[in-house]
Symmetry: C2
Subunit: 270 residues, 2 copies
């Protein structure tokens, strides 16, 4: 049974894992240094624990101890109970979902290990927005993509906001981080993956017209500039979501990265 | 040529159209009363004007007068030039895109008029989030949906945030508002539309297995609860995005409404 520990001071050093959750730079260094991440909300906390992440501690409003009682029962970690104002002063925002957990990150597999059994993968070059990476993981996992490979500068799927938007899909979709952007696609080639670069370019092939290969990797670029010319050049096919001609004429010439990724994952896994 | 009018006081009554842009309730009543809406950013302003919305005024940081010079040339409306702090004090947030326009709403067509020529439409029951309605309009327009029908409580596509997220697609996709939720689907039936209700229910038909009818309407429910039981019952088919079995077993059992709408619009327009 977890220890229930009331806390009344936002500056209590036992709450260090939870400070300033919206300060991206601070969180990056704090989480890297301690190998932790933060899950928010009952459902996501359950999924994080269910995925095997050891719990460092929980921090919640008192009202959450009851709905999470079965989880707390099995825990050997402190559960800090605080009033809403202490929660807000610690985290820097109103914690609507009322419950937070600090969990240990697990070692990521190597790209090579990840690709051993995967047949459908997404490769994210520089998705920099945490909301987007979370939403893309949710789509990919739901539609049956087997794994994700992330370029070195791609946003962290275990950042609180990404975890939350993904509804815990970041625990369901195995992923690995490539060490080197320049030669990062090499491991996919060696494993026999056909590389499909998603682009809005009008001369790319409609994604549903590319014949399905045994192993396929969908390359997704950054929100603003899309894929780098290096990766576009290295791909086997440049593919696009077919857009409506009349819409193009009215200036609606692209989808946002999540909508495009959702449709592309759907097409990839049909 | 538009008149360039420097303003230095956030309380200047000439800036009333732009006050507290993040205060949803205030904006609703203010915009309804004056029949106006606000467009933000150069690209979106150009599209709003291009779509024929008369301009009431513009408000911008001085640095935007030059890039928008060709637009201002043709305008017979005041252009208020202000420093960033005045912009922020008026609107209630940092206006990153630096330029705002207040434009007149145009009369919406009736549902019946809208449906005369349309063949592929989306029907939004209660999409309440402005970001979501903007993103859904962008997807629908880009993929070749002909029109949107909105239930009475569905969010306003011309709310600033919806316009911005849609990248101006709200000007490209014709839409109408049904007067009555209860009998709202009747007009679609009378026009011969096949009604497809999108749902995550496991016993619904995979959307790509429904034979394409001549005229089809895709019904989209609210973010939280999905479609009402009334609309689900009235639909000809309940359709779902096929989800991966292994993902379902790991608790990834749904897509967010924008991703689901994107895939469904793609399937609808193939």
């Amino acid at each position: 049974m977890a220890r229930l520990v009331p806390v009344t001071d936002a500056a209590d050093p036992r709450l260090t894992d939870y400070v300033r959750l919206r300060d991206v730079n601070l969180r990056k260094s704090l989480e890297a240094e301690h190998g932790l991440f933060v899950a928010e909300g009952e459902k996501v906390i359950r999924r994080a624990i269910g995925a095997g992440h050891p719990v460092r501690s929980l921090l919640m409003a008192r009202r959450w101890a009851e709905p999470l009682a079965d989880v707390l029962d099995g825990l050997d970690a402190p559960v800090y109970l605080a009033d809403d104002d202490v929660l807000e002063a610690t985290t820097g925002f109103q914690v609507h979902r009322g419950a937070l957990a600090s969990l240990e990150r697990l070692p990521l597999p190597s790209v090579d290990t990840l690709l051993t059994t995967a047949r459908r993968v997404i490769v994210c070059e520089d998705i920099v927005d945490h909301t987007n990476i979370g939403a893309i993981f949710r789509c990919a996992a739901a539609l049956g993509v087997d794994a994700a490979v992330l370029a070195p500068r791609c946003a962290d799927p275990l950042y609180r906001r990404a975890v939350k938007v993904s509804m815990g899909a970041v625990f369901a979709l195995p992923y690995a981080r490539m060490a080197d952007w320049r030669n990062g696609l090499g491991a996919l080639r060696e494993r026999g993956f056909e590389l499909l670069a998603l682009t809005p370019a009008a001369d790319a092939t409609p994604i549903d017209e590319v014949k399905a290969a045994e192993r396929r990797a969908l390359l997704l670029g950054s929100e603003g500039d899309g894929l780098s010319s290096r990766w576009l050049h290295e791909a086997d096919h440049r593919v696009r979501i077919p857009m409506d001609g009349a819409a193009l004429a009215r200036g609606v010439d692209s989808l946002n990265v999540v909508a495009a990724a959702a449709i592309a994952c759907y097409a990839l896994t049909r």
